[in-house]
Amino acid sequence: MCSGRVDLEFILRAFSTGQDGVFIGGCNLDECNYVTHGNYDALANTHIAKRILEHLGLNPERLRTRFMSGADGNLLAEYTDDFTKKIQELGPLGKSEGMGVKLVKLKLDAARKLVPHLRLVERQKLRVPVKSKDAYDQFFEDPGINRFFDDIFGDKLAISQIMSLLGEQALAAGDIAKKLGLSPSAVSRHMIYSSRHGFVRYDTTSNRYALA
């Protein structure tokens, strides 16, 4: 299998099961032994996954991708040591982010549910036409692309997180906002949208939202 086979689900799943860092190693860019150059897919996935981590309030530096050849054992050792040091500095996942383990898991699992959706978006909007490191970096750093990503992904992620939360217990809008670190107005907006679509219901006696 190729480094391009490492899909978003694997990365998010690893964090969700409690890994503090994820390292992806691939062959050198432009030196594919085949004709696939699938390591560019690994690069694109890394950019997307980092963006997701940011959205979840997790440090994107917990994910690192490096490319090297089969003869670069020394580089692999160097990269691994370096990354280990970085993760040791950051500490356990959630700690440097000021988030409890449970919440981190809830957020990541909410994001994992969106992976099929992300795959569709990636194909439609996030595929870089030119296979070069610069082109990829430039593309994913472009403010327009990021705004687009935030628009389509931000709301979906917020709703997915709310649904996961409500799956555990019914909550008031204010509590949801507090638990997830979202603004109350955004939560109200999502709740109105979700109840209109019949995903949630509002229990008037307890003033809480619950899954429909």
Binding site: M1, R5, F10, T17, Q19, N33, T36, R123
Partner: protein
């Protein structure tokens, strides 16, 4: 003992010395070694460490069974016999006597290899006289993790790590003194660089000095390798003859005397000196010659004809590897397959008559059974067990879900261990096997075979890499390494539980071959394949066959290239199985191993060729120099043109009074960072030809390093003796060429700094010849694109493995040979062309090839026909098909390479890469953490 008969029917008498061990009974447990009281210098470790009278030769030996040597007390004095008592399997047998067998065979390959030069023949090398002088063979063992000190380099005198090491190059090579060899051994420059790089990797602060003559980095990528060694901090390459003067009586440091241009003669002490010993012919070369009736050359190597260096004077006897003359690994590998190709030509009429198909037991259908996993943890000798606590890892494995059996093995890869796995799988009813050992890259095929022997599907195997990923990288952290080994095993077990049985495909092979390029490489290869009964389509882009060889008239070895070439071309045209297309352009290549369809355009005519295999032998071009006034003055030639003009008897050149050659034009620079390999030989050849025709001519060769490797060194020496002057220049201070008018005569003035004299020399030349670089063929990119193969950084074809697969590409069914791979001399090209033919024949000798079972597969029900997988596939392996359930994606399992990109792109998870399924990988990820 004797070799009678002739091609097709040899009778060979063999004498086998007793091992005193019954091979079938020995398990390689080495208990006998432990109890043997006789300590004896370990031959494999160059006698640096001790071994026992009964021992295993080395830890990867095949078969991995012990043997008893002459130092044994029982054999010498009929005492002891302890080993017989401790051997649990009764494998010790002192009654064994030498045995004789007669075998009948159709052909013989001499691949005796070489004997390293023994520096004891000359006192001046100080070997065994001064404690801290070692040979490069000794040093190689010191560096090895299975060596005398487990990879620690220690000084013989005080077992301390040396802080200053010197290497002395050309020990036994390029010397005419008695006992030494006049030729260049060809491998020492690069192996020394390897040793330096490894040393610096082991010990960051060690100072390494290399005393050398020329740096001969003529192999593929060797120039870059040299630069890598040279640029390491604390590494110094000193161009000087060095002699060993003595040793410091207190510190036992070795005193080396050498001279440099700046400091003159000086003496320096080194903690250790490594003699970079060269290559001798096999010690038994005399006996080989008599017994096999083959001629030797003056150096004791096999005497061969450069039009076919694999053939000996005795029909039916062939030679491969370094018995041809000093060679490196890739050449040894392709002469080996080349010898097989030539034997195929000889014995084609009997092909397959003795073959028996391997019978595996009927595969059990266990797909519905609950996983029953067996875990085998390998010691890998001491490679794993010296770091990882193997018994504790075994105990841990037994606690894991689905594991019903676990055990340790000394070498899981040994024949007896494989049998043990097979037996236990049957006995314990295992249906999945985890081997915790090394990287799957080398041994996975072996263990898959082991599973088949047990009646299990071969994909029920997972390898947990606890060597490269664990013991080798955490040698100093034993506790955490053991913990990590357990983690790796746990993850592997989790994945194994999800493995599914997969079937491989038998793919029919079209037996026709397409050879691209009608130079020597392409023709030799085509000719050998056609002789073995296969249709060959030979595609040549120009109007005639011959390629670059058409411009070469002789070789240093004395081959008359044009006569050879015309007879080869004649054979090609006369062979009814070879179809030649001239002026042909490849416009499209479709298909894959076994079933290619290539479209060729010949003078407006379109031809579609169906073939099973492709050989790319497109050759190389000559660089057109932009330096040294080339193209501006008609007295300036390239070496190849000069050779042609000499052969044609151009009087202007032959009668010239003075001729200058400049080496390394257009390569060994930033832009083309490689050595063209052939130019030094060409220069010397042209110089000798000219000296023969006009002994009065003044010839100057301006060079950076003379790379007349192998027996070409003799010609270099001869040129010097005949008065050809060799002047070294550096790339920082290149020669300067001006056209000047001297007393009405137009001459070329070449100014070159002479580092020995410390002044600038002005050479007036009638003729200037440039060693123009060999550059990749113009069409290389296009051909590479068509056949989906890759190029090395220098633009030559990239072989599948630089040492071990020098004629294969990573793409199956496509092979390469000749200068398209890298510049090489004609005899080397012929060797490689036969090598490619040998590999092609290996493929064509079977009716089918087997395609992997680990390919993508679409679950129809989940497929929404969005086409995401189709956009992800670089092999056009996926297409839409109409099914009763609507349009669905379909994977052609033969085209699928199993990269799994589609799997990561499918929004409905409908496409699955078998063997690397989401389930299997997710279980592995989950198992990485224990709660």
């Amino acid at each position: 003992m004797s070799v009678e008969g002739g091609p097709g029917d040899f009778t060979v008498g063999l004498k086998t010395r007793p091992r005193y061990i019954i091979e079938d009974k020995c398990t390689g447990c080495t208990t006998c070694v432990e109890y043997c009281p006789v300590e004896y210098p370990d031959q494999f470790n160059q006698g640096i460490s001790q071994n026992k009278a009964v021992h295993v030769y080395f830890s990867q030996a095949i078969p991995l069974v012990s043997y008893i040597d002459d130092s044994c007390l029982k054999l010498k004095e009929n005492k002891c016999d302890i080993c017989s008592g401790v051997c649990k399997t009764g494998a010790i047998d002192f009654r064994q006597t030498p045995s004789s067998t007669i075998i009948n065979t159709g052909a013989v390959i001499l691949s005796s290899g070489i004997t390293p030069f023994d520096p004891l023949v000359r006192d001046e090398y100080g070997y065994k006289k001064f404690l801290n002088v070692v040979t490069s063979m000794d040093y190689e063992r010191l560096l090895s993790s299975t060596g005398p000190y487990e990879g620690e380099v220690l000084r013989p005198s005080n077992k301390a790590v040396p802080q200053k090491i010197a290497w002395i190059q050309c020990v036994g090579s390029r010397r005419v003194t008695k006992g030494d060899n006049s030729y260049c051994s060809g491998v020492c420059c690069t192996y020394t660089q390897k040793q330096v790089i490894l040393t610096k990797h082991h010990y960051k602060d060690v100072k390494c000095t290399i005393f050398h003559n020329d740096i001969r980095s003529f192999g593929k990528d060797f120039e870059r390798y040299f630069q890598r060694a040279e640029q390491l901090p604390g590494v110094e390459f000193v161009r000087s003859y060095a002699s060993i003067e003595g040793q410091n009586p207190d510190t036992k440091a070795v005193v080396v005397r050498y001279a440099t241009a700046h400091d003159g003669v000086k003496s320096e002490e080194f903690d250790m000196v490594v003699l970079s010993v060269g290559i001798n012919p096999p010690a038994a070369h005399g006996k080989i010659s008599t017994k096999f009736g083959v001629n030797l050359n003056s150096h004791g190597f096999c005497d061969t004809d450069s039009s076919n260096p694999i053939k000996t004077n005795r029909p039916g006897i062939f030679v491969s590897g370094a018995f041809q003359g000093p060679t490196d690994i890739p050449e040894s590998v392709f002469t080996a397959s080349g010898a097989s190709a030539q034997i195929g030509e000889l014995l084609n009429y009997r092909r397959g008559k003795l073959a028996r198909e391997r019978q595996y037991p009927q595969e059990l259908d266990l797909s519905c059974d609950k996983p029953r996993i067996g875990v085998f943890v390998c010691h890998c000798g001491a490679n794993i067990s010296s770091v990882v606590n193997v018994p504790s890892t075994v105990d841990y494995a037994l606690t894991l879900p689905n594991v019903v059996y676990a055990m340790e093995q000394i070498f899981s890869c040994a024949t007896n261990s494989a049998r043990e796995i097979t037996d236990l799988a049957r006995e314990k009813g295992l249906n999945r096997v985890v081997i915790a050992a090394c990287s799957p890259r080398t041994l996975e095929p072996l263990f898959r075979d082991t599973l088949r022997e047990a009646g299990l599907n071969q994909y029920y195997l997972d390898m947990a890499n606890i060597r490269e990923h664990c013991s080798w990288v955490h040698a100093r952290q034993k506790d955490v390494a053991t913990q990590k080994a357990k983690d790796i095993v746990r993850m592997s077990v989790a994945r194994a539980a999800c493995l599914e049985p997969l079937q491989e495909f038998d793919l029919p092979v079209n037996k026709a071959v397409l050879v691209v390029g009608g130079g020597i490489a392409g023709m030799v290869c085509a000719q050998s394949i056609a002789t073995q009964g296969h249709e060959v389509y030979l595609i040549e882009k120009t109007e005639s066959l011959g390629g670059m060889a058409g411009k070469i008239y002789s070789t240093l070895e004395g081959l008359d290239v044009q006569t050879y070439l015309s007879s080869l071309i004649e054979k090609i045209y006369k062979n009814p199985l070879i179809h030649v297309s001239h002026g042909a352009i490849i416009t499209d290549v479709a298909g894959y191993l076994g079933n290619f369809t290539t479209t060729v355009e010949t003078c407006g005519r379109i031809q579609t060729i169906k073939h099973g295999v492709s050989v790319l032998a497109i050759g190389a071009d000559v660089y057109t120099p932009s330096e040294y006034l080339y193209g501006e003055n008609d007295k300036i030639f390239t070496h190849i043109d000069l050779g042609e003009q000499i052969a044609r008897g151009n009087r202007e050149i032959i009668d010239a009074q003075s001729l200058v050659m400049i080496q390394c034009v257009g390569c060994r620079n930033e832009d083309k960072n490689y050595c063209s390999r052939v130019c030094c030989g060409h220069a010397v050849k042209n110089a000798l030809n000219l000296k023969e025709k006009n002994p009065q001519m003044r010839i100057y060769i301006l060079f950076r390093d003379m790379r007349t490797y192998g027996f070409r060194e003799d010609a270099y020496k001869e040129a010097g003796e005949k008065g050809v002057q060799f002047i070294r220049y550096t790339p920082e201070d290149k020669p300067l060429v001006e056209a000047v008018d001297e007393g009405g005569k137009q001459i070329l003035r070449v100014t070159v700094p002479d580092s020995i004299l410390g002044q600038r020399l002005e050479l007036d030349a009638d003729i200037l010849s440039l060693a123009a670089a060999v550059i990749p063929c113009e069409s290389v990119n296009e051909i590479a694109r068509h056949f989906k193969v890759t190029l090395s950084p220098d633009g030559f074809f990239k072989e599948a493995h630089v040492k071990l697969k020098p004629v294969e590409f990573a793409a199956d069914g496509v092979f390469l040979c000749g200068t398209a791979h890298y510049p090489k001399h004609i005899p080397e090209t012929i060797n490689q062309a036969y090598g490619a033919a040998g590999r092609v024949l290996t493929l064509l000798s079977r009716d089918t090839v087997v395609a992997s079972g680990s390919v993508a597969y679409v679950k129809d029900y989940d497929c929404v026909a969005c086409g995401a997988c189709i956009t992800a596939c670089a092999y056009d392996a996926i297409e839409f098909c109409d099914t009763p359930g609507g349009k669905k994606a379909f994977v052609n399992p033969i085209l699928c390479k199993g990269d799994g990109l589609c799997n990561a792109k499918c929004p409905t998870n409908a496409i699955v890469l078998k063997h690397f399924t989401d389930d299997a990988l997710a279980s592995q990820i989950d198992a990485a953490i224990t709660n």
